[in-house]
């Protein structure tokens, strides 16, 4: 590729002002002697000038306020979720504490055996199974009630 062809490929970028210093020197040196490239670089410079002065759309009125509100709203949502997670964790801990302490208290008062229909409910495995089942049923009921309430609030 000749120097002329090589430099011609750099003219647009020269007008955009993004050439390396070495490339810029090459372009400057070449256009001093090449009428065709000089005219081309002038054309590109005219494009660059026009591009710097394109019609400038502005952000719509109140976009800033709407954005700020949305960010704060999302932040509120995240904080709310954190609280919900904390409350859930605390409730789970509480439930297990009650289950375990209930098991201990009953063992002390009954001497370690609470027979119902031939099953000893104070065996740790049985007690855990029954307690977990009851907890799941309670949680499902609570979720149903809360979900219904939330739907009502949304309608309001």
């Amino acid at each position: 590729m000749s120097e002329h062809e090589s430099v011609r490929g750099l003219l647009a970028l020269a007008a955009a002002g993004v050439l390396d210093p070495d490339e810029q020197v090459r372009v400057d040196r070449h256009v001093r002697d090449c009428e065709e490239c000089r005219r081309k670089v002038e054309t590109w410079q005219a494009y660059a000038r026009e591009l710097h002065h394109l019609p400038q759309p502005q952000a719509p009125a109140r976009l800033m306020e709407r954005t700020r509100d949305r960010v704060l709203q999302e932040r509120g949502g995240i904080t709310e979720h954190r609280w919900e997670d904390l409350i859930l964790a605390a409730l789970a801990l509480f439930a297990w504490t009650v289950t375990l302490s209930g098991w201990l208290v009953l063992r002390i008062f009954t001497g370690g055996a609470l027979l119902i229909m031939g099953t000893n409910f104070l065996r740790l495995a049985t007690w855990s199974l029954v307690s977990t089942g009851l907890m799941w049923i309670s949680a499902a009921a609570a979720a149903l009630v809360l979900g219904r309430k939330r739907r009502q609030w949304r309608r309001i």
């Binding site: 490929g9 647009a12 970028l13 007008a15 955009a16 993004v18 005219r39 054309t43 590109w44 005219a46 494009y47 660059a48 026009e50 591009l51 710097h52 002065h53 394109l54 019609p55 400038q56 759309p57 502005q58 952000a59 719509p60 976009l63 800033m64 709407r66 954005t67 700020r68 949305r70 960010v71 704060l72 999302e74 932040r75 995240i78 904080t79 954190r82």
Partner: protein, 194 residues
């Protein structure tokens, strides 16, 4: 995540005071920073999407994302590039979800033209408006590089940072974008003359 942003305000080091306040979760700082960048960011998104409603929504999403990620912002990095790269990623997600015109669409081959200097022939026309029209006919990837270079005045390194591509790619993309613009202008001028 927002709270995480407030956890380590000192990591921003020499960043503007508003940024440090933003990191502490100060809503006034958020207003101040949005105000500083609102027109430029909106314009960038509008040039990319060509749709005011989409640009509006992406603008808001960008700031929500900024607040989520500000805790992990590297103070050594240019905030402006970081902000625009977040906006760009959201725009890409949007294009993926609504694939009318993907941002990384195939770049068209450069058409070389032997026509004369189109700009000289355009003196009687509304050049800026026509140029803007021509620009909007370019692929999004080319509109992006032109708007970042000429409207936002970013350096090649900053554009590479925003677009997440090597410097050489930005350079060739800018070259192709300008050639595409010139071709489009020449075609319009030829069309008007007929």
């Amino acid at each position: 995540m927002i709270l995480a942003a407030a956890m380590n305000p000192d990591a921003l080091g020499g960043a503007p005071e508003a940024m440090v306040r933003l990191r502490r979760g100060d809503p006034d700082a958020l207003g101040s920073i949005i105000s500083q960048y609102q027109h430029r960011l909106y314009r960038y998104l509008l040039r990319l999407t060509k749709n005011p409603a989409t640009a509006d929504d992406l603008f808001q999403q960008t700031w929500v994302r900024v607040m989520e990620k500000i805790g992990r912002f590297d103070a050594a990095r240019n905030f402006e590039s970081w902000l625009f790269s977040i906006a760009r990623n959201l725009a890409m997600d949007h294009f993926r979800a609504h694939p009318i015109e993907p941002l990384d669409a195939r770049e068209p081959a450069i058409k070389t033209s032997s026509a004369g200097d189109a700009l000289d022939q355009l003196l009687d026309f509304e050049r800026s408006a026509m140029l803007a029209e021509c620009m909007s006919s370019l692929p999004a990837i080319h509109r992006e590089v032109i708007t970042l270079r000429f409207e936002e005045g970013m350096k090649l390194e900053e554009i590479a940072d925003v677009a997440g591509v090597p410097l050489s790619t930005v350079k060739s993309r800018l070259h192709r974008a300008l050639e595409g613009l010139r071709t489009s202008m020449e075609e319009r001028v030829a069309g008007r003359r007929i």
